[in-house]
Assembly symmetry: C2
Amino acid sequence: MKPKTPSPSVIKRLPRYHRTLYSFKKKGLDRISSSELAQTMGLTASQIRQDLNCFGGFGQQGYGYNIDSLIDEISRILKIDTTQKAVLIGAGYLGHTISNYLDFNQCGFELVGIFDNSNSVVGSTMADITIKHIDELLDFCKEHNPTMVVLTVPTAALKQLKPLIIECNFKGVWDFTLGDLNLDNEGIFVKNTRLSDSLKTIRYYI
Amino acid sequence: MKPKTPSPSVIKRLPRYHRTLYSFKKKGLDRISSSELAQTMGLTASQIRQDLNCFGGFGQQGYGYNIDSLIDEISRILKIDTTQKAVLIGAGYLGHTISNYLDFNQCGFELVGIFDNSNSVVGSTMADITIKHIDELLDFCKEHNPTMVVLTVPTAALKQLKPLIIECNFKGVWDFTLGDLNLDNEGIFVKNTRLSDSLKTIRYYI
DNA sequence: TAGATTGTTAATCGATTAACAATC
DNA sequence: TAGATTGTTAATCGATTAACAATC
């Protein structure tokens, strides 16, 4: 067991390992070898063993990996076995979809608040949560201490939201805008999901 | 000018170059050096020159890059200067958001059809397009020849859609399900956007 | 011409694959 | 014990960074 620091590439593969192992579990299997897993996922057995060994020796020579305990280990590594509070800003189309369509709990988060700056939506309900005005965010955060914020606002709103995000003491931001939010200096992790960029790369490959 | 094959990593950065250059253009600038661009984007100047040189010498020594022509070049490389037809399957929440929120034309596609298997939505309108029944897809494709399909269906629907996707002669698939659609053997490019996987990696970094 | 900045080669770094000894 | 498969080291591959000659 060598605690190497896992590379971002490894981390990115973990949710997929998790999901694939789960599908094997549902088939009633309880063990799997790196080469079986590799074949299913289109990876090499070597890579899988390398990946899993960043975190410790989860397998057993001559046997393979126990599916149940490997699922648990990966959940633990990703920390999705415990939840942290999250809020969402921007109750438009996209915010509506994200809050309803995604299972936050399964991803280690509990969505506890939705905020918007438009009085026409404040007070209505989305994903069983009453939408609050953005002016209430800071007080809400002081009380509930959410660690993550999802931004489903127009790109133009990003600039003025930045100081608020810092003030609210979030540790992570999931940004769906087209902006380039950088909060490295504040020690805040920012994950940007630019759907239009994905679409553009698809255009390239066609 | 050496026509090296661009790596996937380079392609992934192109939309961001495009967008950043555009914001410089809007500021009224007409030239930029690799180091200025690097600073704005948090990359190294070396990487930018390396990236752009996969495609040819777009810059000029002692001067830098002309913003207008660089934007044009990148558009041309990504092929977003021309559009191809695309359809969307799955007129639920997510399909609604994708079709309304994304500017397909800006990404080199024209959304020409939306399909669903539920009679309760067939006939209604989404993003100015009348939703058709999935049974009409094959005929529609024979007539209009869309090259790309967006899948915003439940994961469970993926398996039965697979043969239809092949039959419709799509060249690309943008898959939002949690499934593992593999169409390499058919020469079809598949881009999977698993939002829940992104959310899980955010949990890791917090 | 002098200054600036590219294009390009070489060096480094990181990630993937191959190989095999350890061991269940 | 023999067979299987991991854990781990070494080799390869690819991507990023550094350096500098070419040249506008």
